[in-house]
């Protein structure tokens, strides 16, 4: 980042601490999107091991049965649920649904687009993702 442009850069884009839960949701959405993309590529590699026959496939399956494998899968479950539920919220917002109606602004100018419906949507996505991760961990470690 050149001092010339004085852009905040990736650090500023990813800093979730300054603009409320909406910016946290933005940060989680980007992170989970990248994580799912990485998982998608790894998953193609993983399933392509079937070409190595029964032995190759079993070897690969063994890797997912380790502690690290379980934790990674639990994180993938969390990312998947958050990205889906929050994605529905964001898509509705993109269509102008639930973002409030234009009106004459009155001090102290609370932005109508940052309303409780969206906040509930964000908190629900986080809670559902956490619940799905816990369920996944219980299933995997309960085997």
């Amino acid at each position: 980042m050149t001092q010339d442009e004085h852009k905040e850069g990736i650090g500023g884009m990813f800093n979730p601490t300054r603009y409320g839960i909406e910016r946290v949701a933005y940060w989680l959405m980007r992170l989970s999107g990248l994580g799912l993309l990485a998982y998608f590529i790894a998953h193609i590699y993983e399933t392509s091991n079937i070409l190595r026959g029964q032995v190759g496939w079993d070897e690969m399956m063994q890797m997912t049965q380790t502690l690290e494998g379980h934790i990674i899968l639990a994180i993938v479950i969390g990312m998947c649920v958050f990205h889906t539920v929050n994605g529905v919220r964001v898509m509705l917002g993109y269509g102008g649904i639930g973002v409030g109606k234009p009106a004459r602004p009155d001090y102290p100018y609370e932005p109508a687009s940052q309303n409780y419906r969206h906040k509930i949507g964000i908190y629900s996505s986080i809670v559902l993702a956490a619940a799905a991760m816990m369920y996944g961990l219980a299933v995997m470690f309960g085997e």
Binding site: M13, G20, R23, I97
Partner: protein
């Protein structure tokens, strides 16, 4: 006459709240000869009504007149005094030190704007993107030629865009936007909100041409609805709302 002097006496004897001091940290940087910015600290007296701009002007008056800062109206109207105050973009004239709840106030130039010197930043790009979305009514006739003397609107029609007409072009929204933080070509929340302002105006006939301008790779689709623009806007414009409503036209949810 006697009454006037008694009023004057009364005002002089009215106790004012006790004064305290804060540390004002000002980012100093001159792109012509500095490699990086550094902070200078000043101890400034303040009352509960003292604004950050007044504290900076105090520094200019008594400690260092070379501090570069842009301001004009001192009442959140001209949009000149945007800066990062304790980590967030705010108007210096509209931010009271007492509301920051801190004895240390740090002021820096707005992010995502090139620095001229210290706290003053260049606005060329904001004005260019603002101009790009055609910020005026587009139609074939004019109020001068029309039989009706002026293009009348109902209060309801005015409500569709009036909050977006409040924009003072201060740039705080562009400074808070996470997309602006990395994308030098993004049109930005200020210009997009203004595009909505004109598209929603019942007198305007330029909707299609404006939608065409913003429907490009560094246009409206780069907004991810983080909402930070709306949280920092000092005039209640709520650019995030305008952008989503505008996107509603492109996605076919609105006509």
């Amino acid at each position: 006459m006697a009454q006037v002097s008694s009023i004057a006496d009364e005002q002089i004897s009215t106790p004012v709240s006790s004064s305290k001091s804060i540390t004002l940290r000002i980012a100093r940087y001159n792109p012509e000869h500095d490699d990086s910015s550094m902070f200078m600290e000043f101890t400034v007296p303040c009352e509960k009504w003292t604004t950050v701009l007044e504290a900076i002007l105090e520094v200019k008056k008594y400690f260092d007149h070379s501090v570069a800062v842009r301001y004009s109206c001192r009442q959140a109207t001209c949009g000149s005094c945007g800066m990062i105050i304790n980590g967030k973009p705010r108007l210096a004239c509209f931010t009271k030190i007492s509301e920051l709840n801190s004895d240390v106030v740090t002021v820096e130039p707005m992010n995502n704007f090139p620095i001229i010197r210290d706290l003053a930043v260049k606005f060329e790009r904001l004005f260019d993107t603002h101009q790009k979305i055609k910020p005026y009514l587009i139609r074939d006739d004019t109020e001068i030629e029309s039989d009706e003397k002026e293009f009348l609107q109902s209060p309801k029609e005015v409500e569709q865009y009036i909050q977006f007409a409040n924009c003072i072009k201060c740039g705080l929204c562009n400074s808070a936007c996470p997309t602006m933080a990395t994308d030098s070509s993004f049109v930005g929340p200020q210009a997009l909100a203004q595009a909505y302002r004109y598209v929603a105006d019942s007198r305007d006939k330029g909707k299609d041409s404006r939608l065409k301008i913003i429907d490009e790779s560094h246009g409206i689709w780069r907004c991810h609805f983080a909402g930070s623009c709306s949280q920092v806007c000092p005039k209640g414009v709520d650019p995030a709302m305008g952008i989503q409503l505008l996107r509603g036209y492109l996605l076919g949810f609105r006509s």
